[in-house]
Structures are given as C-alpha cells and as structure tokens.
Symmetry: C2
Subunit: 191 residues, 2 copies
C-alpha cells in the first residue's frame, strides 16, 4: 500500500466516527435521535431532488459534495445545535476540519477544506443553496415530530424563524415551505 493510498484509507476509517455523532433532532418517525452520517445522506438526497428550486443556477454535484463533508469536523467536538452555536464553536470546527481533512493527501485535503469553508461562508450560489437544504431537514423533522427538538431545547417560534431565514437566500420556494411548517407548529401551540 503506497503512502497516498494509506492516507486515504486512514481518512476513510476516521470519518466512520461521524456515525456516532448524534444530533438534537429525531428521525422522521420520532423513535430516536439522528446521527450526522444519516443527516448528511438525507441532505445530499434533498439537494439532488430539490435542486430546481435553487434561486440561482447551481452545480448540483458540488452541493452534494458539500452535503457529504459538511459535518465531518463535528467528529472532534460533537453536534452543537444551530440555535446555540458560538464563535468558539466555529473555531473548534475549523481546527477539527484541519485535523481530519489533514489526514488526506495534500491535494484532497485542500479540496475538502476549501469546500467546507465555502459551505460555511455562504457566499456562493452552491453554498447558499446547500445552507438552505441543510436547514430544511431539521425543520421537517420538528414539524413531523410535534416540534420535539425545539421544545426540548426551549427554542421559541420567533427564534426558529430568525435562525432559519437564510433559507430564503438559497431558495425562496423552500423558505415558503419552511415558514408554513413553522407557522403551523406555532399555531398549534407547539412552540
């Protein structure tokens, strides 16, 4: 096994740990919390199926690759709920990204770090759309589970609206859908 292949295999083994990083939201049937690997898969599927609703033309393949890698840095620090994320959390994730993508050969390390940073910064059409998709899955999960994670963590409707409003920058249609679910949860007195 040459050095390049060995590094790639080490990375592939390391990222298996994402299957043990659990999020605050439940899978759609409400039976248990979802982990980051499952979320990343669903995020990629949502991107594939809903790409026609992006506000701007996007390279869907790039959005899918963002979906696949975006939560890998959580291996080192766990999942922090979007409503509770601090500057220190972002800094911890950046360090984790450098460590974990740093296991790869240099060219692939740079490619993954650049893709991850692009996603985080939300300055390109792909990143804005990916950020919208990343948020619609937990909104759907809360909607289908009577606002479960929102109630458990004391998150009120105004906060949900405010934190997720950037969905609109990626997709007006998906933001309309998100708002309708949040409004329904509010009207039912769930949040």
């Amino acid at each position: 096994m040459d050095d390049r292949f060995k590094k790639q295999i080490q990375f592939i083994i390391e990222i298996d740990k994402i299957k043990s990083i659990f999020r605050k939201t439940c899978i759609f049937d409400g039976s248990r919390k979802e982990n980051d690997a499952e979320h990343s898969w669903h995020f990629a599927m949502l991107a594939m199926i809903l790409s026609e609703y992006a506000n701007e033309p996007v390279d869907v393949c790039k959005v899918i690759r963002m979906a696949l890698i975006h939560d890998i840095p959580e291996i080192d620090n766990g999942d922090v709920m979007v409503y509770k994320k601090s500057e220190a959390d972002f800094e911890n994730e950046r360090r984790a990204a450098e460590r974990i993508f740093g296991l790869l050969p240099d060219d692939q390390r740079d490619e993954c770090l650049s893709l991850w940073a692009e996603f985080e910064e939300r300055k390109t059409p792909e990143a804005r759309f990916a950020a919208a998709i990343d948020r619609i899955e937990p909104v759907m999960q809360n909607y289908l589970n009577d606002g479960c994670a929102w109630k458990e963590n004391g998150i009120k409707a105004d906060r949900v609206m405010d934190t997720n409003k950037h969905i609109d920058a990626g997709s007006h249609a998906i933001w309309e859908y998100a708002k309708s679910m949040i409004d329904e949860c509010k009207n039912k007195g769930l949040i």
Copy 2:
C-alpha cells in the same frame, strides 16, 4: 404547495425509513450494526476519495448519485446479505424501486430508476466502479471487526473471495487491497 413539490416531499419523507434498515455488518468500532443511510453516505465518501483508482475514467458525480440511491429499495424488503441474495430478492427490489421512486414526478422517477438499474447491471464504467466501492466498505468493516459478520453468518474465506471478486472489474487497486484484508482474516483463522 403544487403537485410536483408535494410528490418530491412525499419521496423525501418516505426515504427516511432507510435509517431503520440495518445491515449485517457493524460500524468500524464494532459497537453496533450499520444502517443503510450510514452505509450510503460512507459509500459516497469512498467514491469521492478513491475515484482515481477506477480502472476506466468515470463520472464521479454519477457514482456518488448511485451510492446515494442504491439501497433505497431495501426500505420494502430489508437488507439481504450479498452472500445470500436470490433471484427472488432481486425481483422484490425491482418492485420496491418502482414503488418508491414512483413517488417522484415522472422525470425524476425515470432518472432514479435508470440510475438504480445501471448500478445493478454493472455494465458501465460508473456501475463497475460503484459496485467495487459498495463492497470495499463491508470488507473493511469485517477486517476491522475480526470477520464479525462473516463469522456470524457462516461465510468462509473462499466464498468471500468469490463474491467480492467483481471488485477487480471496477478497480484493480481496490481489489488488491480487499484481497490483502481477506487473506489476513483467513491466515488469522477468523474465516
């Protein structure tokens, strides 16, 4: 919500069930069985990182999309171990693919069915490489877990070699790596 969007959302909700379809193999730390969503995510990541080892030039994005959707039909019938798969199992999966992808608007249904069938038939460079990647993850899992799923299911070394030898048609380098792991398990008396 128009009819097209409604169909897409129904599909997205339906495929969440893949998170509850458990495989025979364990995650790398051996603590529990892996589910199909986690496997599909890892498969897509492996395809992204190891595409340079495909025997023929491949459209990596197509391989990733195959990875994401390839196990969706298992929602209806559960996971059948590759060593125990019968003609009836393939027929059941085909029917499940038609039902589940059939929830989508016609154009996306046709696209997903076609991609799924291409993967199953292994006649294109992308399908041959995807089939190799789909198999390397469980070989790695068994290698890292002392042949756990092979022992549990009474699968011997010759059978493992024979069932996985099609990896070579997708990637000679990945087949060499697979063989080295299978040989080591055999030499240790694990299978």
